[in-house]
């Protein structure tokens, strides 16, 4: 009990860090808005408190930048980071493989294929907050996942090796399709490549709403299954013997996690490393107990992607670097360092 209370305090601490980072990130950008003004603009949006804050003296342009451009982007980046880390942690658990990531079932290549189709054909299938590209990316991600899932399933059992292999083969097939479309559509090349590298430069509040509800539902479902995940990573047979219905649990997690990954990819493009590295990093810190690991990874993913996206939009004057590049540059070397450091005394 004592230990659980200590852990809750740490979680709250990390959440506060995330919140402060979000406020700080709002002050960063090509137009400099003073910290005090930023805080006041944010506070004015909070119910009850908002009435006490006067933002009339702050320049309209600054209010617009903070409210309509920076905040939605910051919140969206944090949400996508949280989703990717949550999905990565869950996949690593049910595949019992610390190298699994959110794209293991072909979500990324499916989404890229859909997005590419959307870009070259200029279809008009926009829905709610999602533009054409996002809708087609979502459909592509979902269809690919369903195909991979069914290829790997025998009866109601899912073989991890088959999932990995089916995922790889589907990805290669789709990559070939994407290349083919790119060859015939030179004009759209830059947009396609740009999309696949991931970016939040078109973020808006509707996208945030779109992602927030599935994230909350997914979080509740996955955290509710944390005891089962703990049992499964120690072996499926022994998990069943302590009473876990392994196949049902795996199926639920795969469906929920794939949906979350598909939604995240469709609004942000392909952002690597978050879903692989964040769970891995926090497993080294808090251990593999998913009751702790899932919430910590979720917050950690949000923090990591928020930092990367802030760098992406402010590092170069007048240019938005695709955030996928930053996550790889920041995450890659650190991940390799961890690998070297931990390989000496542990298996992973």
């Amino acid at each position: 009990m004592q230990r659980e209370r200590g852990f809750i305090i740490k979680i709250v601490g990390v959440a506060i860090i995330l919140f402060l980072l979000m406020i700080f990130a709002t002050t960063v950008g090509s137009v400099s808005v003073p910290v005090e003004d930023t805080v006041r603009i944010i506070a004015s949006e909070i119910p009850r408190l908002g009435a006490l804050v006067n933002i009339d003296e702050i320049r309209k342009q600054h209010v617009f930048i903070v409210k309509k451009i920076r905040l939605p982007r910051i919140v969206l980046a944090s949400l996508v980071g949280a989703v990717l880390a949550l999905v990565g942690t869950s996949y690593q658990a049910i595949f019992k493989n610390p190298m699994a990531d959110p794209f293991i079932m072909g979500v990324s290549s499916g989404a890229a294929f859909g997005a590419t189709l959307g870009i070259i054909m200029g279809l008009n299938v926009g829905f709610f907050a999602m533009g054409n590209t996002a809708v087609l990316a979502f459909i592509g991600a979902l269809v690919t996942t369903i195909i991979v899932y069914n290829l790997a399933r025998v009866g109601n059992k899912i073989s991890t090796t088959s999932i990995l292999l089916a995922g790889i083969v589907m990805s290669s097939l789709l990559a070939a399709g994407i290349s083919l479309m790119m060859i015939f559509n030179h004009d759209d090349l830059a947009r396609i490549v740009g999309w696949t590298m991931g970016s939040f430069n078109a973020a808006n509040w509707d996208q945030v709403t779109l992602l927030l509800i599935p994230l909350l539902i997914g979080l509740v479902v996955l955290v509710a299954l944390s005891r089962e995940m703990n049992a499964i990573v120690l072996g499926e047979e022994s998990a069943q013997n302590i009473g876990v219905n392994v196949e049902i649990v795996k199926n639920i997690i795969i469906v929920v996690a794939s949906l979350l990954a598909a939604i995240a990819v469709s609004v942000s493009g392909i952002i690597g490393f978050v879903g692989l590295m964040v769970p891995h990093l926090f497993r080294l810190i808090v251990g593999s107990n998913h009751k702790k690991l899932l919430p910590v990874s979720l917050l950690g993913g949000a923090i990591f992607l928020l930092i990367c996206d802030t760098i992406a939009r402010s590092a170069l004057e007048g240019m938005d670097i695709p955030v996928g590049i930053i996550t790889a540059i920041v995450g890659g070397p650190y991940f390799l360092y961890l690998l070297r450091k931990t390989r000496k005394n542990k298996l992973i």
Binding site: V233, L234, G235, Q240, G243, L347, I348
Partner: protein, 257 residues
């Protein structure tokens, strides 16, 4: 005496290879049964059929008069716990977390670990002599200690039946004896039915109430050790000649000739 597990005409095969060939078996409540037999005789397969990990294509298994395949996983886990052959985990947990997982069948979703859960975990960790190790990582302890951790997790389920698959393989003689002593203690003090596969015939005769000798998926003999472990039976099943020494002990002891 009542029956803990009843196996009736059970047949099992992996694709085309028949492993269990019409087994009949009554395992008495509160007994200590060792399953012996050469490699490939079906010991582990029988164990996995008895705990519902594998399903026989013919025949039925009853646990306490209930048909095994009709029992829900969680309900079964309250009656029966299984200690599998040691595998190295890929993920790091501390010992306490692992033993606590044994409380799973008794817990509700979204509930915190209750005081009862924690008390039981503490007690089984003391009983298995691993309370001192509770903060340690599963990667940091020895094979013998790891086996105790897995047994403690099984005990946290508060089972009436404990199945063990070669619990003393890969352990040195000291740890072999200590694990078997622990099983015997649980058997006598808590009346837990112990069913274990084993390779060591002499240790099996010393600790078991009954020995089941398997040969190519069939029951060769099932009785008290002194009736099962005979020169004739060993030669028939293992194909080697042995000499039997009884000495002052009642239980047989074999040495290869």
């Amino acid at each position: 005496m009542s029956v803990a597990i009843k196996v009736e005409k059970v047949k099992f095969k992996y694709s085309n290879k028949t492993v269990l060939n019409g087994l009949n078996l009554d395992i008495k409540k509160g007994s200590f049964l060792s399953i012996l037999g050469p490699n490939g005789s079906g010991k582990t397969t029988l164990l996995k059929n008895m705990c519902n990990l594998l399903k026989p294509y013919e025949g039925v298994i009853h646990i306490d008069k209930l048909q095994l395949r009709r029992i829900k996983y969680k309900e079964l886990a309250k009656t029966m716990a299984v200690v599998h052959q040691g595998t190295t985990p890929n993920f790091e947990f501390n010992i306490y977390e692992i033993v606590l997982m044994g409380r799973y069948p008794h817990q509700k979703r979204f509930s915190f670990d209750s005081k009862t859960d924690l008390d039981i975990v503490r007690q089984v960790m003391i009983d298995t002599d691993i309370w001192e190790l509770r903060e340690k990582s599963i990667f940091e302890i020895s094979g013998g200690e790891r086996q105790r951790v897995i047994i403690a997790r099984a005990l946290a389920q508060q089972p009436e039946i404990l199945l063990l698959d070669e619990p003393i393989a890969f352990l040195d003689i000291k740890h072999q004896i200590s694990i078997l002593n622990l099983c015997k203690k649980l058997n006598i003090e808590r009346k837990i039915t112990i069913i274990t596969t084993m390779h060591d015939i002499n240790l099996a005769s010393r600790y078991s109430d009954y020995i089941l000798l398997l040969d190519s998926g069939k029951v060769e003999a099932l009785d008290v050790p002194e009736k099962v472990i005979t020169e004739k039976n060993i030669e028939a099943v293992y194909g080697i000649k042995v000499k039997l020494i009884n000495g002052e002990r009642k239980v047989p002891y074999i040495i290869p000739e």
